[in-house]
């Protein structure tokens, strides 16, 4: 998948002085390089298209099109090609300009063989790393998609069928079962239910590609993802007799991704429900404050001890004390944190053990 080290690096040298070209060829002789040359910018650019070099050396001062223009045009063709500019003596400012325009390094004339070899080595390595990063990113994306599909079909669907049949069996045998047998069913259903929740949690996490998130941002009201989250958690809230109160006040729009923000609120409000006693209430308040939309999720639950507070958003962390929570929330809060950060927002938590916990999500208001 990535370039093997036995492949020759391709180098193009563009310089109007034959002397420079000859000495470069001489210095690199015997190395694992495939080298082509050109005596002016236009010829050089033509060669770039055909030869597809890894590295281009270009003299800044040439008749015809300048080295700067060559630099620009090479990167327009392929931004991963490494360009090193050869500058005249005492023109460091041109070199700095070139680097600001995308050149990787500069080589002032006259240069020693060692200087030339060193720059060549570093530049070739740089290209190799860039191509490797691109390949790895692509691979990761493919794996992520495949993993989501595999988890859904090979793990979740069969488990779902198992649980459905368990429900059916319990329903049929309800009247004939002893208390002990009912207990067995409850235990099995609970464990399978936990596994399903964990799988769902993982699927939601996999689906969020943090790097691509900003690309899909649209103006929206934070009330939408909050309402979606509340709807998602309605059954759980009902089962525990917990009242969810949602107060919103003058909400200006933010720029973001509705689906991943729903994920954030599913995790935070879900967390509030899990750690709340039955028949308590969870309050969500959203309002504008300075340049931010601030959302507070307050519960009346057991709270989080101060020593656990700084770790709440670490992946895999689940507080040592307190009630058993359904599996999966360790990951959820860590992802929620990443998503909020991708929105240029911040999430924090305050808690009083025994009294309750408040999660605070701040998101910047959209500047129209």
């Amino acid at each position: 998948m990535t370039q093997t080290t036995t492949e020759k690096a391709k180098i193009l040298i563009i310089d109007d002085e034959e002397v420079v070209i000859d000495s470069c060829l001489q210095i690199l002789k015997g190395g694992a390089f495939e080298i082509q040359t050109a005596s002016n910018g236009s010829a050089g650019l033509q060669k770039v298209e055909v030869f597809q070099p890894d590295l281009v050396f270009v003299d800044l001062k040439m008749p015809g099109i300048s080295g700067f223009e060559v630099l620009e045009k090479v990167h327009a063709l392929d931004s991963t090609i490494v360009v090193v500019v050869i500058t005249g003596f005492a023109t460091v400012s041109s070199a700095v300009d070139a680097m600001k325009k995308g050149a990787y390094d500069f080589l002032p004339k006259p240069f020693t063989p060692d200087e030339f070899r060193l720059i060549t080595r570093r530049s070739v390595e740089r290209r190799r790393l860039m191509l490797e990063a691109i390949a790895l990113r692509r691979e990761k994306e493919l794996l992520r998609e495949q993993f989501a599909s595999i988890v859904s079909h090979e793990l979740k669907a069969p488990l779902s069928a198992v649980q459905q049949n368990l429900f059916a069996l319990e329903f049929e045998l309800e009247k004939a079962m002893t208390e002990d047998q009912k207990g067995k069913f409850e235990r099995i259903k609970t464990r399978i239910g936990d596994m399903l929740k964990l799988i769902n949690s993982w699927l939601r996490v996999i689906r969020v590609d943090i790097n691509q998130l900003k690309v899909g941002f649209k103006p929206l009201s934070v009330a939408d993802p909050i309402n979606a989250a509340i709807e998602n958690l309605a059954t759980l809230a009902q089962r525990k007799g917990i009242q969810i109160n949602f107060e919103l006040r003058d909400l200006p729009q933010i720029n973001g991704d509705s689906l991943s923000l729903s994920e954030v609120f599913i995790n935070i409000i879900g967390n509030a429900l899990k750690y709340s006693p039955d028949f308590s209430s969870v309050t969500i308040a959203a309002q504008a404050e300075d340049k931010l939309v601030k959302v507070l999720v307050r519960d009346e639950g057991i709270g989080i001890p101060s020593e656990d507070l700084p770790h709440v958003f670490d992946g895999f962390y689940r507080g040592k004390s307190g009630q058993e929570a359904a599996a999966g929330h360790g990951i959820g809060l860590a992802v929620a944190h990443q998503i909020v950060q991708a929105h240029d927002g911040a999430v924090s938590v305050e808690s009083t053990p025994g009294k309750g916990t408040t999660f605070i999500v701040c998101l910047p208001i959209l500047n129209v």
């Binding site: 779902s160 069928a161 689906l259």
Partner: protein, 137 residues
């Protein structure tokens, strides 16, 4: 009167579980394990309710059926219980629409697996609601 139900879902074990629960009510349940057979069944017989797996196969093939129902004036009136693996997948497939898009006149979304009492309650309610709507016309 026995109500006629059609279930379209590609997982035979899951279907068996649902059928077992529905057996306790006054229902006659036909099954189609793929969209093509499902559409054929809908054309051949009049059903009081459709149970539809929206995420059939690898490409959410159930959506195709839902769209066909929407376009057919007669089938539109039939209530549909939409079954999904994950509620959010609906939002994923219909970006911009609320989490419960109305495919047909009377429908509802449930997540798999479905608890027996919930299943029976929703099936009965959907059938009653659809019948009431039809009576209004």
């Amino acid at each position: 009167m026995t109500k006629k139900l059609l279930m379209i879902d590609d997982d035979p074990d899951f279907v068996a579980g649902i059928k077992a629960i529905l057996a306790s009510g006054d229902f006659e349940v036909d099954v189609a394990y793929n969209p093509k057979d499902g559409l054929r069944a809908l054309e051949a017989k009049q059903y009081d309710l459709l149970l539809l797996d929206i995420m059939m196969g690898r490409g959410a093939e159930g959506i195709m059926i839902a769209r066909k129902l929407r376009k057919n004036p007669k089938l539109r009136e039939m209530p549909v219980l939409i079954m999904t693996g994950m509620r959010e997948q609906i939002a994923f497939l219909f970006p911009g629409e609320p989490v419960h898009p109305r495919f047909v006149d009377v429908d509802e979304l449930v997540e798999k697996p479905v608890e027996p009492k919930v299943l029976l309650e929703k099936v009965n309610t959907l059938i009653q609601t659809a019948e009431a709507k039809k009576a209004e016309k």
